[in-house]
Amino acid sequence: MKSLILDRNIMMVWLALLAVSSVAWLLSNFGMVFESINGTHLSQLLVVLGYLKIWMVVHYFMEIKHAPRYLQLFCEGWVVLSCISVLSIFYIL
């Protein structure tokens, strides 16, 4: 059991997900102290960090990195397309 928990690759992904979540939380609460960053840019950065986490879950946890190319293309393509379309709303509206 210990050997499974200490499986370095998968543990690193989990730790990276927690780290990105912590950075996002800090940015959401304290990001406005940087005068060069306005609310819109900060929100866009948070969206990108959110989709980075989604990509990590899809790629590593869902094992899409070992899936056939068509499924990999669809799932990871969805992550990229969804991120771009969400970001584009900031400019359209």
Partner: protein
């Protein structure tokens, strides 16, 4: 027996669909639906200056602590189910079962936190008909909560049926892979909701 099940531990360069391929139509459909819902949320938020004010004010009334706690619970549960799947592929039924039980407990923790959060909001007078923000907050998070409950039901099935002596059976591994994929879907959909509803400034 060893010979038959030896292919359930996969090499890194080996490509395969996790779980039943047909189940992925459902998973991909869910991803598309929530992707559309994220867009609707943002369109609604930015549609008029009044809406933006309502959404910003609504977001300030939410507790980021509950949202963050639920994020940690779901990310950790995703990690546990990956370990449970790995244990099953190695034929280690007892360890696999422990990891799936830990996944279940994290999921249950998510439900408790969410119910507690809803109770707090309702007591404070924030209801479905309070404003545009709370309308969409309740609709989206309740829909997600239903996915969590469906995932928990599937995890109970796994705990009861899929971690026995022959857990390396490819058909059995495929069932665990399917449920694990669904649980990861629940996790990634929450990451999107947490970012848009709780974190955005």
């Amino acid at each position: 027996m060893e010979q038959i099940y030896s292919n359930t531990e996969r090499r890194d360069d080996e490509r395969h669909v996790p779980g039943e391929p047909a189940f992925w139509i459902f998973i991909v459909g869910e991803m598309a639906m929530f992707g559309f819902m994220y867009l609707v949320f943002l369109c609604y938020r930015f549609w008029t200056p009044e809406n933006l004010l309502i959404f910003e004010a609504g977001q300030r009334t939410l507790s980021q602590f509950y949202g963050a706690l639920n994020t940690v619970l779901l990310l950790t549960s995703s990690w546990f189910i990956v370990l449970g799947l790995k244990a099953a592929r190695k034929g280690n039924a007892s360890e696999g079962k422990v990891f799936v039980k830990l996944t279940f407990m994290c999921g249950l923790g998510f439900v408790f936190v969410k119910v507690f959060e809803y109770a707090e909001k309702i007591q404070s007078g924030y209801l479905l008909n309070t404003d545009a923000f709370y309308q969409i907050y309740y609709m989206y998070t309740i829909l997600h909560l239903m996915h969590v409950l469906a995932g928990l039901t599937a995890l109970i099935y796994l705990i009861k049926n899929c971690f026995k002596d022959d857990c390396r059976d490819p058909n059995n591994v495929a069932i665990i892979e399917g449920v694990a994929s669904f649980w990861h879907l629940v996790d990634l959909l929450w990451i999107g909701l947490f970012t848009l509803i709780y974190l955005m400034v």
